[in-house]
């Protein structure tokens, strides 16, 4: 699942439409939309709103493969509609700085400085927004840097100032860049998928679907913990889960079963001839 966090409704609308997201009918404190692959939340403007919504999204739905803040930025002379990925995010008030890894070679990267009020005076060294710092600070509490990205669309510059920017104009700007933004999101997601090895993915699905001892026997939480670790090791060395099925019939006591598994793992070496 890819989570997209957007401050304003007019920024969210073009993305929602392109992704064909449906409104989620639960009683969320923020407007949420989703399909099978994406979840989008409209957070309200400012770092605080963004941080709260990011944390709520994690609390409500848990882990996601990618967390992306999409929004508008101002810059001294960058072209309106230009799309940039934040590689460095600064909180203007606290001076705190975060670096997010660049996963795409081809992308245009930028330093984004999050401010509390709309800016009209720009430095040409950085882009200005109001949410990225709140987003990255919150997201880092529960996921890894590689999964956190902020993609920005230039909405104002010294020639076209933010005072002239109404919702309609912002909607037009985001609409014109939405496809490019979503393309970038998908590329980042694919790049992350390439980094996760197929053996890791296969193993994760295997370990989730194999025997759940707690459903077959009464086990203490300490035994459950030991069982999970031994099952991981058993599958990691490439042994069949059917052997455990057989041992379940032989070892009536859970402790005996776990001791047997441990002894097998400690005394029987892995054959590398069979390993790819």
């Amino acid at each position: 699942m890819i989570n997209i966090l957007v401050a304003l409704n007019c920024e969210a609308k073009p993305l929602r439409q392109l992704l064909k997201l449906r409104s989620m009918q639960d009683s969320a404190p923020w407007r949420c939309y989703a399909n099978d692959q994406y979840r989008l939340i409209v957070t309200g403007s400012g770092s605080l709103n963004m941080a709260m919504a990011t944390s709520w999204l994690f609390g409500a739905y848990g882990k996601a493969s990618l967390w992306v803040n999409v929004g508008s930025v101002g810059h001294k002379h960058a072209e309106i509609g230009q799309v940039v990925i934040a590689s460095k995010i600064k909180d203007y008030r606290s001076g705190q700085v975060w670096f997010t890894p660049i996963l795409l070679n081809s992308s245009s990267t930028a330093t984004v400085c999050s401010v509390e009020r709309v800016q009209t005076q720009f430095s040409d060294l950085q882009f200005y927004d109001m949410e990225a710092a709140g987003f990255v600070q919150a997201a880092l509490k529960f996921t890894e840097r590689e999964r956190i990205h902020s993609i920005k669309i230039v909405s104002d510059n010294q020639e076209e100032q933010s005072e002239d920017l109404d919702e309609k104009r912002l909607l037009e700007i985001v609409e014109a860049s939405a496809e490019s933004v979503l393309g970038t999101v998908q590329q980042i997601h694919d790049s992350l998928l390439l980094r996760v090895s197929s053996s890791e993915v296969r193993f994760a699905s295997k370990i989730d679907t194999d025997i759940e001892l707690g459903k077959l026997r009464r086990v203490s939480s300490a035994q459950e913990h030991r069982w999970r670790e031994l099952k991981r090791r058993w599958l990691a060395v490439g042994w069949s889960i059917n052997d455990i099925h057989g041992a379940l019939a032989v070892h009536k006591s859970t402790t005996n079963l776990l001791d047997w598994m441990e002894a097998e793992l400690l005394t029987k070496p892995v054959s590398l001839e069979a390993k790819p």
Partner: protein
């Protein structure tokens, strides 16, 4: 190979920085105040980052020469290590760096001259005793040589310090800078070797055993002191055959009489590091087979450890009777 470059503002104009950047002229450069901003902050996934690490160019502040961990040495009384680089370009599954650092980015320190001063101070402080310095604790000593010029810079310094011995620990075949100069009596190049199946399966991106042996042979022929490190020895069903083959190949390809030493050590990691690695690679057999926790370390059982070490020690003794053997467990 490198995704982007993070550069500390303070070393922006350092001569070595400029040399390093020539190798990455097409990579984006991001300026940082201190390497800690990107090297080891929370919320990084070593495994994800290792696929495409970034290069961090920085200055090493604080302690630059550290006392070596116990049982690290291969001679002498005083042992120290220093690291001009943190993290390795190779991806060996057993490597403790994966557990020690949150970040897989390559951190290169450019203030070599400060390291030299600290090494010199350490030698002076030893009161005339022989002092060993190890490079290759936090990185491979030679793997990044064409980029960092580490050996090219440091080795000549050791010609001025006859009481100091430098041991370069490596799996790399980047030996050009050594072959280009006269060998030094007080420099040992220690190559890590493993059985071919272990090298092929869990020493990703590292040169093949064949290539490492070839590099060792070339260095020996040029007059350099060379050592072999069979560490970590890995326990698997075919281990006897695997290590037997390795030792035979060493005998065939090296001048074993002239080997400085052979070090043997079984796979072991501090408990904390092991737990991180098992979490990073839950599907890997290395962190599942034969492992238990003993006295703050995860490693093979006492019986398996002795079996591995005895077996390899016997083979080394039979094939290279004159060679000095160090045994770590």
């Amino acid at each position: 190979m490198v995704a982007q470059v993070y550069l500390e503002e303070g070393v922006r104009n350092h001569v070595r920085t400029k040399k390093l950047l020539k190798h990455y002229s097409e990579k984006p450069i991001l300026y940082i105040d201190r390497h800690q901003e990107v090297f080891n902050p929370r919320g990084q996934n070593f495994r994800l980052q290792k696929q495409k690490p970034s290069l961090i160019i920085a200055e090493k502040h604080g302690t630059r020469v550290h006392p070596a961990p116990s049982a690290y040495g291969t001679g002498g009384k005083q042992h120290f290590y220093f690291s001009h680089m943190l993290n390795c370009v190779y991806d060996c599954r057993y490597c403790f760096l994966q557990g020690m650092y949150r970040s897989a980015n390559y951190l290169v320190f450019v203030n070599f001259e400060d390291f030299v001063k600290d090494i010199e101070d350490t030698i002076k402080g030893a009161g005339g005793e022989q002092v060993w310095f190890y490079s290759g604790y936090d990185c491979d000593s030679l793997a990044f040589e064409p980029v960092t010029g580490f050996a090219e810079f440091f080795i000549p310094k050791f010609s001025q310090w006859p009481n100091a011995i430098l041991e370069l620990r490596t799996k790399s075949t980047q030996i050009r800078s050594l072959l280009a100069r006269e060998p030094l009596e007080n420099v040992v190049v220690a190559f890590s070797l493993n059985s071919e199946s272990i090298a092929n399966k869990i020493e990703e991106r590292a040169p093949s055993v064949e290539k490492r042996l070839e590099a060792m042979r070339k260095l020996q022929e040029a007059g350099w002191k060379v050592a072999a490190r069979l560490d970590p020895l890995i326990w698997y069903a075919e281990f006897e055959q695997g290590y037997d083959d390795l030792i035979q190949r060493m005998v065939e390809q090296l001048d074993c009489q002239a080997l400085h030493s052979v070090t043997l050590g079984s796979f072991r990691l501090p408990d904390g590091f092991f737990k991180i690695l098992a979490k990073l690679f839950p599907e890997h057999w290395l962190f599942a087979s034969g492992i238990q926790s003993r006295e703050g370390q995860h490693g093979y059982t006492e019986k398996v450890t002795q079996l591995l070490l005895d077996c390899c020690e016997d083979k080394v003794k039979q094939s290279m009777p004159c060679t000095k053997i160090y045994r770590h467990q």
